[in-house]
Symmetry: C2
């Protein structure tokens, strides 16, 4: 009763505690490469304001992350909350993935990421923006395998940022976080990284060249690898082409 898809707005206004949610968000940001090893989080008051929670609640979250070894806190001037690089929580259990959820993530991702790439290519980019994109690209290429995922995520979010559409950036970041959760459940093959790097390069070139259709196509192609992997390990193998959005890249 009460199919949730029939009530898309009647859904949780919060997921669990403010405190747990804060832990998740910060961890997410680290796992997405938005805060890197050695970097400092914004001051507590600022972070609390960004999260819309009180400083007391934020501090609970920071303590949790601190005792998990994810963050280190330094007092005094030029102090702050620093990222260690560790990203595992002690109590993390990995429940089996729901195939419907896998499909949802993959489809939604195939909607928002290519669109973001297309918009990024269509936008007029400042020199600084171009440089930033290239920097993110280099960092993926130079990252060690264990740091690959965050660098990769950060690169893709950087692309989305160039779209100039904040809602789209949020959507990309969120779906990517969900995808990462799923990817954590399956083994990583180093062979794929090189292939991935090539695709990143293509995507970057298309964006910088202002070639929107090419950027869209490159993004889609890049997603297909992950999609196949996840569907193979976690889904029920529904791989017909006709549920892929944006299949207008082929001959019309």
């Amino acid at each position: 009763m009460s199919d949730p898809v029939q009530h898309p707005r009647i859904r949780p206004v919060r997921q669990g505690n403010a405190f747990e949610e804060a832990v998740e968000r910060i961890l997410d940001s680290i796992r997405l490469g938005l805060f890197r090893r050695g970097e400092r989080l914004p001051p507590e008051r600022e972070t609390a304001a960004m999260l819309g929670i009180s400083r007391a609640t934020l501090r609970e979250a920071l303590h949790e992350l601190q005792s998990a070894g994810v963050l280190e806190v330094v007092r005094g001037r030029y102090g702050g909350t620093f990222v260690t690089g560790r990203t595992a929580l002690p109590d993390e259990t990995v429940p089996p993935a729901d195939p419907a959820d896998v499909e949802d993530v993959l489809v939604f991702r195939a909607v928002v990421e290519p669109a973001a790439a297309e918009l990024a290519a269509a936008a007029s980019l400042s020199a600084a923006a171009r440089e930033h994109l290239l920097a993110c690209l280099r960092q993926v290429e130079e990252s060690l395998p264990e740091d690959y995922r965050p660098a990769d995520a950060r690169f893709h979010i950087a692309v989305a940022e160039l779209s100039g559409c904040p809602s789209l950036v949020r959507a990309v970041a969120e779906v990517r976080s969900r995808a990462s959760d799923l990817l954590d459940r399956i083994p990583v093959l180093a062979v794929n990284l090189e292939h991935s790097d090539r695709q990143h390069r293509e995507l970057t070139d298309a964006v910088l060249a202002g070639d929107a259709p090419a950027a869209r196509a490159a993004s889609l192609a890049h997603l297909e690898g992950t999609a196949a992997l996840l569907r193979g390990f976690l889904g029920h193998g529904r791989r017909s082409d006709d549920d892929a959005p944006g299949d207008d890249r082929g001959p019309a």
Copy 2:
């Protein structure tokens, strides 16, 4: 400092009270035509669970909506919480729209709605699903002008539901709600409705025919009307074509 787009995951875990948020969500659902005049909301316990809040908090929200004349409550068996049709809160002030937000809504909408239409067309639809879509279409066509907006929203959400991707449905519903807020700020021209109805018919036909590219194109074309309207009244008139996503509908 701390550009929000740089921290897409560090954003409010809640917007205001649970109670206010609940009021918003329910009102949203009514405005989106997901609950119609005379319909009954799910039982309090169920709604509270769906919203992830306690029943006490939900009841605060219901009381607010009740005293605003939006809801009517009937006790006893076959009782429940019923929608009156009124959708205005007493204290609603309309702050000027932020042009950046207008642009964000329009762009994001142009990303998710055409994608949803495309997926809906590509999906294999049950007879019931087809019938539901047609029913929603008819209800838009038959709606009185003052009920047009909710019927219209419901139709578009129905299309999104056919995509089979819950995240996409949520995204469509949310962005449509934001767009409605903006549309409330500008005058409505009855002339447009007929045009709109034609486009709805085209979209429906494409979806039912399984013609994904046509569905995408129809959806995009339909959005352009609203987009032009909103940009004209509220934006700063940036109307170059090259920031429209999915412009692959024209000759490549």
